[in-house]
Amino acid sequence: MASTFIQSLDPRVTRLQMPEDINQQPLQSEALDQLVTFQVFMQKKEGKNFEHAGIVHAPTVELALLYAKEQYSRRFTCSGMAVAETSTVMASPYTDGGISVYQLLEGEAEATTATADVYEVFHLMKRGKQHEHAGSVEANSVEDAFYKAKESLMPEKPVLNIWLIRRDDLLTVDEEDKDIWNTLPEKGYRDAAAYKAGDKLKDFKEKNEATSSH
């Protein structure tokens, strides 16, 4: 029977025992098995602001956070991470021509009630860059949160886009679990700096020149 499987140069692939005619078999044409998307925010160093890093696909927010850790911080220094389901992020429109999103807001914030939620506010200051955490506000609704952010977090420079996320919708790595970033310092094999072969090359070239000049 072995001859009916694809024999590969890669022993792992040979072990997959793929039928020779696999590409001729009909494709499973079912609905897309597409998971939920999560926006990932990362804090590079203690004391720095969280910044948007990218997305992950995951079934739940817990696994999203674990996936985000390996996809976005396996190589870069990191001291904190947070994820939120994309659908929980409230985004403002983009502005142009030096106008801040906050200038589009007319009206005033309401008085905060006891049932208010905490919202985390992220600003985009330049196209092409990432959204960065600006602070948090307490507000009765999303609309209200925009006004509250205008009151307390509006910078001098124009903000081109704002994201608001209820704090309850964000999952962060607990303080006591932050040691997951304390990995073996011997992870140098992931860095370009670990690969120095200049001396080897130099010796080789010198030897070559010596032999070719004879």
Binding site: M18, Q34, V36, A58, A91, Y195, K200, F204
Partner: protein
């Protein structure tokens, strides 16, 4: 990793006629000013279509590109190489994730892209359809194929679409590790025992042709490519990238005492450009159309991974109990 030679949609004369001329002018002015386009911005349908196609092909090239080097992942000699190769192949999977994410912001779900890879609707870089016969092939890929990819990716990272540029910024940082690792491994083979040198030379002989194909056929300037260049979708011509690659790497290959299997290869003092034997573009076309040495196996592996992982994704989907949402940025 990724090369040039992207296939773009043919431009129809009517493609831009349906667009609102004022919006189109504003869009082009923004790109002219050097500003990035973000997902929520208005953009011509053609721009969206070409970008999805290009970024998707790039993503496919990463996930398929994990396979040729993956061939040696269980056989890397020694701890250092074993860890490096594991990390490198992992990075390529990570690159696919980042690139698909960038393409997703344009409205095409990731699973749709993966389906289109498996059913053959969308392409990936031709070079990954060639086999890695020995350890030296894996090292050659890590060094030179990644070197080619970096030339292409650095150019693209100056493009106009924000999410793609951000993904490329991350990717390029990791590629510098790939390049150094690959060079390091090749230096060890080329300066090593006679047997190692022999392996290395044989691998170079095999990969030179595919490397010359890597950036795609010579460009014929068309209205089409002018539009893509104006929109900063296509950032450099195939020939320019090929010349840049030769400039940077031919001397580095020669200094290792290796022979490049092209008797015509030399820097032309008058033109300042490299002369070389024109690669076999008929072969290039044949491989793109599915008839390369390993097209069948590469797709079979991807398909098998998807099909055997389906129960995991189905279970996760049930746990999530929520619908997919297009990512924001």
């Amino acid at each position: 990793m990724y090369g040039g030679g992207n296939t773009f949609e043919k431009l129809q004369g009517t493609d831009l006629q349906n667009e609102d001329p004022q919006k189109l002018a504003e869009f082009e002015a923004r790109i002219q000013r050097g500003e990035k386009i973000e997902p929520a911005d208005w953009m011509p349908a053609l721009y969206r279509k070409q970008l999805v196609r290009m970024i998707e092909q790039h993503g496919h090239s990463e996930i398929i590109g994990a396979l040729p080097e993956g061939t040696w992942i269980t056989r890397a000699p020694g701890f250092k190489r074993k860890l490096s190769l594991m990390a490198k192949v992992q990075d390529e999977v990570g690159h696919a994730q980042l690139l698909y994410a960038a393409a997703e912001t344009l409205g095409k779900p990731r699973e749709q892209m993966i389906d289109d890879l498996i059913n053959g609707k969308s392409k990936y870089s031709n070079i990954f359809n060639y086999p890695a016969f020995t350890w030296a092939d894996a090292c050659t890929i890590s060094w030179l194929v990644d070197a080619g990819a970096i030339v292409n990716q650095l150019a693209n990272s100056r493009g106009s679409y924000g999410p793609y540029c951000r993904a490329l910024e991350r990717i390029c940082a990791e590629e510098s590790f790939h390049l150094k690792y690959g060079h390091h491994a090749v230096i060890h083979l080329a300066t090593g025992t006679p047997k190692q040198r022999e392996m290395m030379q044989a691998a170079l002989n095999r990969w030179w042709g595919p490397l010359m194909h890597f950036f795609g056929p010579p460009d014929k300037m068309s209205v089409h490519s002018e539009t893509l260049m104006r929109w900063k979708v296509k950032m450099a011509s195939n020939d320019d990238m090929r010349q840049q690659f030769l400039d940077m790497y031919v001397p580095k290959i020669w200094e290792l005492g290796l022979t490049i299997p092209d008797p015509l290869l030399r820097k032309n003092e008058e033109t300042g450009k490299w002369d070389y034997t024109e690669p076999d573009w008929e072969e290039f076309k044949r491989v793109i159309n599915g008839d390369g040495p390993l097209n069948k196996e590469r797709l079979a592996v991807r398909r098998t991974a998807e099909e055997r992982g389906k129960w995991v994704r189905d279970a996760m989907k049930k746990v999530a109990a929520k619908e997919y949402v297009t990512p924001l940025a």
